[in-house]
Amino acid sequence: MLQIPIWQRVLIFVVLLAGLAFAAPNLLSEQRARSLPDWLPNQQINLGLDLQGGSYLLLEVQTDAVIQDQLNNLVETLRENLRSERIGYRNLGISDGEAVTFTLTNPQASREQVESIVQELGQDVTVEFGDGGQVTVDYTEAATSERVRNAVTQSIEIVRRRINETGVREPTIQRQGDHRIVVQLPGINNPERMKDILGRTARLTFRMVEQGTNPANPPPGTEVLPDDDTGPNGQPVRRYVVEKRIMVSGENLTDAQPTFQQGQPVVSFSFDTVGAKRFAEATQENVGRPFAIVLDGKVISAPVIREPILGGQGVISGDFTVQQANDLALLLRAGALPAPLTIVEERTVGPGLGADSIRAGAMASVFALIAVIAFMAVIYGLFGVLANVALLGNLILIVGALSGLQATLTLPGIAGIVLTLGMAVDANVLVFERIREEERNFKGMIAAVDAGYRRALVTIFDANITTLIAALILYYFGSGPIKGFAVTLAIGLVTSMFTAIMVTRLMVATWLRSRRPQTLPI
């Protein structure tokens, strides 16, 4: 074990040099590190949100709403088809929120017709006939889950666009599990505005207002929608009877910008060609009537059409503040969410606490390092000093690996490093104790050192692999800061095995060869 082949010596130096090179950019300022040429390692350690401050939001896509939407559409399609085929039915609706059901007035005669209607709807729809003319129409499970999956994918895209529009630096947006989205916003310590922007569906529609009808009894094909403004009692100031038929929707917008009209903040928008054409037609037919601009089921404003709007451009006004106009324009540009999002987890750390944590973590690391170094030097003398050199090498390797892998360093991660400092010397202690024992067994000094390394090696591997198993499982199941802890723990275990077995052994072997001592210092 004391004859160290040349390739191992080369490996030791290469690894240590690489560690040093990858760790070095952390000593520079951020700008200097970024300006380093690409062929040099120029990445600094990535700080977690708990250290640099920022906001972590876990959003859940309301998949129930997606399924409900899908079923509502199915009801409307069936209603149209049943009517046009003149099939008698009653009680058409969604039962238990899971499937569309209705009852045929003449089950025998209509059965085939219903089957052919459903067949035309495609392979995704199934139909079942029960007793007494009961019919159940439903989407296949595959179709529903496909729909949900698409909704989540689309939601992520919309969330990404909205966040990019706000200009947050280096956000992270990832899918988590089936229907959740993780959003990490570094530097955001009051996420209320972000939550507001992400929490709105922003489904915009332009529809005609039905005049001269009683909101308590809306005619078929219309619905009653509240005004966006609320009075002092928290109730909407008025209600509108609005056609269900949509003239133009937000999907047809190409741009939206906040601007001012007569000193009031407003949002100006332009339609694409399809939207412009439809809007022109609708406004030509309805001059003198009011239309409603509806956002997420609330009427923002209901202006009267004074003349046909042919240019495909318009303005939404509605008692906005500047901020509200900005946000509305942003939402319209980014597009509507296919389903509402709810915030199910939030963790926001202010910059002050982050800075305190970094300071505390650094202080703890330094004191731990000094204490461990002093302890080892006192206990093991020269060999302790050699182990300490390896410990410093270990620290450099950890920092280098974290920077090179761009792993995220969190506060528990710093704790992981400190813990590794304590545990890293274990491999050396194992070897040194084994050497002491072997020497006691009247072996020669060289033989004792050799046997000490050889015998301790198996133990070191077994002991560290079991701890590594814990770290890997922690990484797999943990979230956020905990993952950071698992990463530093795992990296620390691997580097500490390397430094203890390779680096210290090289130093001990070199010392034995050059000094030819008569007795061991331990």
Partner: protein, 321 residues
């Protein structure tokens, strides 16, 4: 001169003879821990219970907890805990989970922010965990712990005999139960960080145990004719210096973390300190004596196992010296 020179070359503690005492003490402590968890319960943090936690730094040099409490009570958010946290101008608010799903929690956060904004110099931390997420985190935590224990036991089984795996697993369970008891008695907050600490304790404890088991196996192969208690004592005594030095350095590092590491990870650090101490004790006083109870004898380990020399050669990838 190295201090280690003055350490006893061959300590001769009669660990095996005292095994009834150590096993008894461990069993009693485990039972007490389970009772403590049952009676006192764990102080579950917002991670697992759901709800809102905020940490604020007030503009006033000393936070007026009384005034904050009355303002919070005016909001009618139900059960609110308010306490100073570290500095005199830092206050921690804990608000119970609100009725009415995730939306209601968000509304509550916004109302608190508005109500206290005039007093607050810095919102140091705002955390909210929804009930479903809390439940999932709890399950993921239990799953991770269970899997980790199982995986480590399997590895030991693969490298040793089943008795060693069973004893190692028992020692792990012992440490985790005692750590849970520690949290029940101290009422330190039990959160996600604590689960990480618990798993780390498992990793440390098994590390310690494996080192001793390794020596037990070696000594059992070497002295086939000696009595078991004597062999166990020999194994424990010959690894004793290492056991103490390693837990010594680890505890030194952890105390540095507990003293200087700040309030955020304090409960995490104390869990680790307690766990390292218990883990060290359990490998000597619980796991190793259990080997005798499970009937390990020299003949258990002599069946066509590779020798240390072969194993070392295989691991290091080179032949002998």
């Amino acid at each position: 001169m190295a201090l280690v020179k003055r350490f006893p070359i061959e300590p001769r503690f009669d660990f095996a003879g005292k095994r009834r005492i150590t096993l008894g003490v461990s069993t009693v402590l485990m039972v007490l821990s389970i009772i403590a968890v049952g009676v006192l319960g764990l102080n579950l943090g917002v991670d697992f219970r759901g709800g809102i936690v905020m940490e604020i730094q007030t503009k006033a040099e000393t936070a007026d907890v009384q005034a904050i409490r009355s303002e919070m009570n005016d909001l009618g958010l139900g059960d609110v805990t308010i306490q100073r946290f570290g500095e005199p101008n830092v206050v921690r608010l804990q608000v119970q989970e609100q009725e009415g799903g995730a939306q209601a929690q968000q509304a509550a956060i916004e109302r608190i922010r508005n109500a206290l904004d005039a007093r607050v110099a810095q919102w140091r931390r705002v955390e909210f965990v929804g009930p479903a997420v809390g439940e999932e985190l709890k399950q993921a935590g239990m799953m991770a712990t269970g899997l980790a224990l199982l995986a480590m036991a399997l590895y030991i089984w693969f490298r040793f005999e089943w008795q060693f795996a069973a004893a190692g697993l028992s020692a792990l369970v012992h440490d985790l139960v005692l750590t849970l008891g520690f949290f029940a008695v101290t009422q330190l907050e039990f959160n996600l960080g604590t689960v990480a600490a618990v798993l780390t304790i498992a990793g440390y404890s098994i590390n310690d145990t494996v080192v001793i088991f390794d020596r037990v196996r070696e000594i059992l192969r070497k002295y086939k004719r000696k009595a078991m208690p004597e062999l166990i004592n020999l194994s424990l005594n010959s690894t004793l210096t290492r056991t103490l030095l390693t837990s010594g350095t680890t505890l030194i590092a952890l105390f540095a973390l507990a003293i200087f590491g700040g309030t955020v990870i304090r409960s995490f650090t104390w869990a680790l300190i307690f766990g390292v101490a218990v883990g060290t004790y359990s490998s000597v006083g619980f796991g190793t004596p259990l080997l005798m109870l499970f009937g390990v004898k020299p003949s258990t380990v002599t069946v066509t196992q590779e020798t240390d020399k072969e194993a070392a050669a295989r691991v290091s990838g080179q032949g002998g010296n």
